[in-house]
Structure formats: structure tokens, C-alpha cells
């Protein structure tokens, strides 16, 4: 629980959080929540999760470390505790994951105080859901290739273009968006804005269906959408730098939602052992096969290694390059989840053919569903290939690949 090093204030907060979560843990819905908050599509789930986040915010468990004047708790080191306790309590995840992990830190760093006061409190309370608009059909891995244009018109900007891979856009009030304001330079031609999405003239949100057969992300079309210059973050031409701030805070957004809930990595790996002990292979249980055991243990070594890596990331004397560990996070978790669910399918054997809604599917078809979904994580927000480029270039100092 990491409680050992809490300050007295932190210890008191931890007690409060733990007690509050125990007393207020919501009853589960009759329908299963999707694996990740970015996959939420049903109105029932949205309402349930928005209510939950608002309650948490009111109890002081969300935005604990943000300044009070912008709706935060004004504390230090409280958010980590709140997240740990949410994880331990097994409460649902926080739905406004892109708002909390990407939009809020970006607005805090690059927005005017006026914007902070306007946007942050409803974001924390999940009164307004946020989405992000970076990827485009022709700029997936190559974010700086964005072509959605913003053209100045008096005190306004006119947006035209096409964003893809925008989770939560069907519910979203706002989007953080990277636009092209000049073609002279690939990087310096980018500017960063906040734009309204819901009930906005010229904005069309179209759900895309994933390979799982489920909705979960969207494409968003902009046709002469007018936004005020006040919604610009940082200077014209500084969009790439602002986007880097967003991406630095992104780790975890695809996964844990900065809050509690959801399957933890440990549960997932323990699930592999349980599955192997149940499934038959060659006349015995799969667990009796040393080759299966070895593969599960390989996953467990990686999972525990990642946990200890994050622990080490906070010990100054044991890290050399400040970005060496943080930049590994997305690559590690996404490939680990992929490999773990692929192994789950192998262990399930013929049963891996069974999908959602089949009574005989092991663990409610978790393994094929997770495996299919895992490609969303190894692709979204910088493919694994791009992550390795970034690590090689920014940490090891190798020549840029492009």
C-alpha cells in the first residue's frame, strides 16, 4: 500500500479515502462495463460512471493535487493515494480519463487562468467529458503530419478537417485538437486549441466499430467550425510543444484511467494461472504442462518487472536518464497485455473460439476480447514501432529514423 512513507496529512487522507470508498462503493450494474473507460458507449454506463466520478470529486478524491482556485484540492501527493485506494477498493474507473490525464495537465500548463477556471471544475466533476483530436486518416503514427486546418478570421478561427481514433467523442463536450495553421514548416505550422464538440455547428461525430464488434472510438468531421481565439492554447505555431505536454501525461490514459477500478495487471496474470488449472490439455490440466507454466511465468516476470520499474522510476539514485523509464511505459503495458491475452487464448485452446454471450466461454470470453482490444493499445497514441523510435532517439541518442 506504500502507506509507510505517508506524511501525517497523507496518512489521514488515506484513512479518509479508504473509509469513504468502502462506504460509497456503488452497486455494480447488471451489464458488464467494458474493459477500459475509453470503450464506454452505452448511455447507461456513461450515466453510472459520470455519477460516480462526480461523487468521488465531491469527496475530494479527484484532482486532489490541482490548485484550489481551479477546482482542485490544493494538496500534494494526495492523488496517488486516492488512486491506490480506488484500485484497492475495486471501485469503477473514472470515465473522464482523457480529460483528467491529457486535457487537464495541458490546460494547466498552457492555458490562461480564465480557461482554467472555465474548463477544469466541470472536467473534474465529469459534468463535461473531454476527447482528443490528434490522429487523422493520413497522420496516424506521424502526428506532426496533421492536416486539419485552422484559419484565422478576425477574432475567430475556422476549423476544417477530419480526426480519427477519438474515444468518448459521442459523449464529449470538448476536444483538445491539433491543427495546421501553416504549411511552411511541418512542426512550426501546428497550433493547439480547445473546441466544443456537442451541439456544435459543423461538427459531425461518427462512431467507428472496432474489430471486437464493439463501438468505442469515433471519427469527427469539422466543416467550417468557428471557435474564438480565446480557445487557443499557447502561441500560434507552438502546437507541437503543447502536444508533447499532452503526450507526456498520457501514460495510463489508455489503460488505468488515473483512478481505480478495472482489471489490474496482477489480476490478469493470476487469471492465467487459474485458467491453466481449469483447462484440459493432452489429458491433463494445462497447468501440468511445463511449457505452459513457463510461458505464464514469462508473463509474470514481465508484469512484476514493470511494477518494480515504476517503483524504481521514483528513486533518483537508480535512474540515469529522466525519460528512460517514463517513455517505456506505454510500450511495456500494451505489449504485455497483448502477449498475456494471446497466451490466455492458447491456454483456452478450442474454447478460445467462444465469444461474448456464449455460456461456455471461459472467463466470459475475456481472453479473445482482450486480445482483440490489445491491438487498440499497441496502435493508439503512437504505435509500438513509434514508441521504439522515440526511445531510441530521445533516450539513446540514435539518429532520427524519418
Amino acid at each position: 500500500m506504500d502507506a509507510k512513507k505517508d506524511t501525517p496529512e497523507q496518512a489521514e487522507f488515506r484513512d479518509h479515502a479508504r473509509r469513504w470508498l468502502r462506504e460509497n462503493k456503488p452497486a455494480p450494474l447488471s451489464t458488464r462495463l467494458p474493459e477500459y473507460p475509453i470503450e464506454v458507449v452505452s448511455d447507461e454506463h456513461r450515466r453510472y460512471l459520470c455519477d460516480w466520478q462526480k461523487k468521488c470529486y465531491q469527496a475530494g478524491l479527484v484532482a486532489c493535487d490541482y490548485p484550489k482556485e481551479f477546482g482542485g484540492g490544493g494538496h500534494s501527493g494526495f492523488q496517488r493515494i486516492a488512486s491506490q485506494e480506488m484500485g484497492a477498493a475495486g471501485t469503477p474507473y473514472l470515465i473522464n480519463v482523457i480529460g483528467l490525464n491529457m486535457a487537464a495537465p495541458t490546460i494547466l500548463h498552457h492555458g490562461s487562468d480564465e480557461l482554467k477556471r472555465k474548463f477544469l471544475p466541470p472536467l473534474f466533476a465529469a459534468d463535461e467529458i473531454w476527447c482528443q483530436g490528434f490522429s487523422e486518416p493520413n497522420a496516424g503514427s506521424d502526428l506532426a503530419g496533421a492536416q486539419t486546418s485552422a484559419v484565422r478570421s478576425g477574432d475567430n478561427w475556422i476549423l476544417n478537417g477530419h480526426k480519427v481514433w477519438t474515444s468518448l467523442a459521442t459523449f464529449a463536450s470538448w476536444m483538445i485538437i491539433l491543427c495546421r495553421t501553416s504549411n511552411d514548416d511541418k512542426y512550426k505550422g501546428l497550433t493547439y486549441y480547445v473546441t466544443p464538440i456537442a451541439n456544435t455547428k459543423g461538427v459531425t461525430v461518427r462512431p467507428l466499430i472496432k474489430i471486437t464488434g464493439q463501438a468505442g472510438f469515433n471519427e469527427v468531421l469539422f466543416e467550417d467550425v468557428v471557435i474564438p481565439d480565446a480557445y487557443r492554447l499557447d502561441e500560434v505555431g507552438n502546437g507541437w510543444q503543447v502536444a508533447m505536454t499532452t503526450l507526456l501525461h498520457e501514460r495510463g490514459a489508455a489503460e488505468g484511467a488515473g483512478g481505480g477500478g478495472g482489471d489490474t495487471l496482477e489480476e490478469r496474470t493470476a487469471g492465467l494461472v487459474r485458467l491453466a488449472k481449469r483447462m484440459k490439455r493432452n489429458g491433463k490440466t494445462a497447468w501440468d504442462d511445463a511449457a505452459i507454466r513457463d510461458r505464464i511465468m514469462q508473463i509474470i516476470v514481465r508484469a512484476e518487472g514493470m511494477r518494480q520499474l515504476y517503483r524504481r522510476a521514483r528513486v533518483g539514485g537508480l535512474i540515469e536518464h529522466p525519460m528512460r523509464i517514463p517513455l517505456q511505459g506505454k510500450l511495456l503495458i500494451s505489449e504485455l497485455l497483448q502477449d498475456a491475452s494471446a497466451l490466455g487464448m492458447e491456454i483456452a485452446g478450442a474454447h478460445a473460439s467462444l465469444y461474448l454471450g456464449d455460456a461456455n466461454a471461459p472467463d466470459g470470453a475475456e481472453w479473445p476480447l482482450s486480445y482483440l482490444n490489445s491491438y487498440g493499445i499497441t496502435i493508439a497514441a503512437g504505435t509500438s514501432e513509434v514508441q521504439r523510435n522515440i526511445l531510441g532517439e530521445r533516450v539513446l541518442g540514435l539518429a532520427k529514423s524519418k
Binding site: 490439455r281 511449457a291 485452446g349 478450442a350 473460439s353 499497441t378
Partner: protein
């Protein structure tokens, strides 16, 4: 080595393969495939009854082309072609991700022909006549296991009565009859059971793969006449053991064809899609995985032909080659499927991009009759006795 150098793949086999490729491109191309099974995701995964798409017209044409009688011996009215021709046809079916009971009928055929009974010959004659068939031999554990088929047979003077449940029956709702393994005491027999016989209940599974249906089937006092006994109790196990190399080879061949589709489709995308001012195939992070796909496909394909050839001319090595082929093809299919989605990037993760259709077929075939790990554990057993 008693095998011919060319795997028995001569002019006849090539003509069959080439015409099959053309026929499927014309009649079961990617547009047709998408329209028939991946048109709507709700329909695919949330229909009250899971879909079992069946194109009767296509089936009739394939029967006419003689594909369903390829593996039937000439003595039963088939064309009795070499196994390498059957494998080549299965490869084309995989390349097209064919939605049809063709593969399952080939599996049943290769089983029936190993039994020298009147019942088996009668069943083969039905296949020659255009009926489709499926194996029903797998218990709830997922791999055929002689110790427990899940169904029992009470043999009478007039025939037999079956009770129990058989699992993982492929394309169960597209066939006229099943070849069922059932036990009498410890003895396994094989029985032909028509899909519409009273007491037979087909329970469709909800499955990931869009290109087939699957079911578990319960038999409740299902009575069949003696003419439908393929192998009497005690003789079924030997038939299944002899037929098993053909199952593995056919499924592995299907995976090879699908793998080649994945390679070609992903390569074409890598040539066309630009990022960072280059076609993505310029980057070794894309180029080298594509090469690794190719290398794995070629290994698996070569082993498939060797297994097919062994079934015809070197039966004592057939199991070994077939397990090598299924091991190689299963791991290849897993790798190619993963890379086909990953290298397509964002679009590859969407329902509208066709790669998921092949991805899911490959994952299904990877597990069918045992994955690579399973095959290798059986291969290793063969070395136990050797010095």
C-alpha cells in the same frame, strides 16, 4: 525417403489449384465475403441466434466442379486425387476465407475413406451426391481424445442408439450429416447421424470467427440403422488415428492460404500508405516483420505439402509430417494475424478493414485440433523411445 521430389504436385494438381483460385476470386471475393459475414457487427455477434451464412448456389457450383469428391476414392465414385491436391484446394479456401462447409466435408471425407465398411461407402456416396458432412468427435476439452468422446453408443441388432454431447462441431448448421465418434464401454465406434434425426439438437456456439459456425450437439436416444455404422465399436479409434494427419494437413493448408492473403494485403498497404514522408514499407520496423511473415508462411506451406505427400505414399511418417505442418502453420497464423492488424495501424483496428476477418479465422484454425505447443508435445513423444 519414399516421397516423390515434387510432392506429387503435377499438371493435374496445378490445373485444379489454378482454377480453384480463379473460381473463388470470381465467386467468393473479398467484397462478397464482407457483404455476407461482416456487413453488420450487431448481426455478427448479437443476433438472437448466431449466424450460419450459407450460399446454396455457391455450394452447388463447387459440387459441380468436383471439389467435394476430390478425396473420395474412385471405388466410391470420387476422383481419388492425391492429398496434395486436397491441400492445395484447402489453401485456396483459406486464401478466400471461404464461408462454406467445404473444409469440414473434406475432413469428414478423409475420415470415412479410412473405414472399409459399407456404412462408410454409403456415406461417401452421399458426399459424391452433393451432401455436406462434418466430424463430431470432440469432447468438451476441445481435442479429440479416444478416452472420452462425450457420446455413448448402445449397439443393437438393428443399429445403435446414441446419447451424450459432442463439442466444437464445425459448420454444424450447414451439413446434412455428422460422422460421430461414440463409445460403447471403452470401445470407440463411428456413426453417421443425419442432422434432422429426432433427438439431435444443435446448440450454436457464439464464436469469434465470422467465416464459419460452430456448435455443440446433444444426442438424446438417437437411433440409427446398421447401415449408418461407419466403424463398429472397437474399430473407430484406428480409423480416427489414420485420418488425423489429413485433418491437420487440411487445416494447416487453410492457414497457409489465409497467411498469404495477410502477407499480400499488408504488403500492398505498406507500399501505399505514407507516414513520415515515405511509404511505411520503407521502414524496417514494417519491412522486416513482413519478411518474417513470408518466411514463416513458406516454412508452413512446404511442410503442408510434405505432410500431404506422406499421407499418400509414406503413411508411417504421415503423423510426424502432419504435426510438423500444423505446428508451423499454427504459429505462423498467430504471427501473421497479429502483424496484419498492427502494421495496418489505426485502420486495421476497425471493423471496416477486412483484416479482422482473416485474423479471426486464423486464430480459430490455430487452436483447431491442437495448437503448435500441443503438436510439438506429441512430436516430442515420438523421440522418447529413440536413443
Amino acid at each position: 525417403m519414399a516421397q516423390p521430389k515434387d510432392f506429387g504436385f503435377g499438371e493435374d494438381e496445378q490445373m485444379l489449384r489454378d482454377s480453384a483460385r480463379k473460381f473463388l476470386a470470381d465467386n467468393a471475393g473479398i467484397e462478397t465475403l464482407r457483404r455476407s459475414v461482416a456487413h453488420d457487427h450487431h448481426e455478427a455477434y448479437e443476433s438472437p441466434v448466431p449466424p450460419a451464412t450459407y450460399d446454396a448456389d455457391l455450394w452447388a457450383k463447387m459440387v459441380e466442379l468436383g471439389w467435394t469428391t476430390l478425396a473420395v476414392p474412385e471405388s466410391s465414385g470420387g476422383s481419388g486425387m492425391k492429398m496434395v491436391a486436397v491441400a492445395a484446394l484447402a489453401e485456396e479456401a483459406g486464401r478466400a476465407a471461404l464461408v462454406s462447409p467445404l473444409i469440414t466435408t473434406l475432413l469428414a471425407t478423409c475420415t470415412l475413406r479410412e473405414a472399409a465398411s459399407d456404412g462408410a461407402r454409403a456415406a461417401l456416396t452421399r458426399i459424391v451426391g452433393g451432401e455436406a458432412s462434418a466430424l463430431a468427435i470432440t469432447n468438451a476439452d476441445g481435442v479429440w481424445d479416444s478416452a472420452d468422446s462425450g457420446v455413448t453408443a448402445k449397439v443393437t441388432k438393428k443399429g445403435a442408439t446414441l446419447n451424450g454431447t459432442v463439442h466444437f462441431v464445425q459448420d454444424a448448421r450447414k451439413v446434412a450429416f455428422f460422422v460421430v465418434a461414440a463409445k460403447s464401454g471403452k470401445k470407440v465406434g463411428l456413426y453417421v447421424v443425419n442432422a434432422d434425426t429426432p433427438g439431435v439438437t444443435i446448440h450454436p456456439d457464439r464464436i469469434v470467427d465470422l467465416t464459419r459456425d460452430q456448435a455443440h450437439i446433444t444426442f438424446e436416444n438417437v437411433t440409427i440403422p446398421a447401415t449408418q455404422i461407419v466403424a463398429p465399436a472397437g474399430e473407430g479409434e484406428a480409423v480416427l488415428t489414420k485420418a488425423m494427419p489429413a485433418w491437420l494437413t487440411i487445416v494447416a493448408a487453410d492457414m497457409c492460404g489465409a497467411g498469404e492473403w495477410q502477407l499480400q494485403t499488408t504488403t500492398a498497404y505498406a507500399q501505399m500508405r505514407k507516414q513520415f514522408d515515405h511509404p511505411i514499407g520503407f521502414f524496417q520496423a514494417v519491412k522486416h516483420p513482413l519478411v518474417n511473415m513470408m518466411v514463416k508462411i513458406d516454412e508452413a506451406r512446404s511442410l503442408v505439402y510434405a505432410a500431404a505427400c506422406a499421407i499418400d505414399v509414406e503413411p508411417k511418417s504421415a503423423e510426424r509430417y502432419a504435426r510438423l505442418a500444423k505446428s508451423s502453420a499454427s504459429d505462423m497464423a498467430a504471427f501473421c494475424s497479429g502483424r496484419s492488424v498492427q502494421l495496418h495501424g489505426g485502420i486495421g483496428f476497425t471493423w471496416e478493414c477486412d483484416v479482422h476477418i482473416y485474423f479471426k479465422r486464423q486464430k480459430h484454425n490455430q487452436m483447431l485440433f491442437g495448437d503448435g505447443l500441443f503438436q510439438r508435445s506429441k512430436l516430442a513423444d515420438m523421440f522418447d523411445s529413440a536413443a
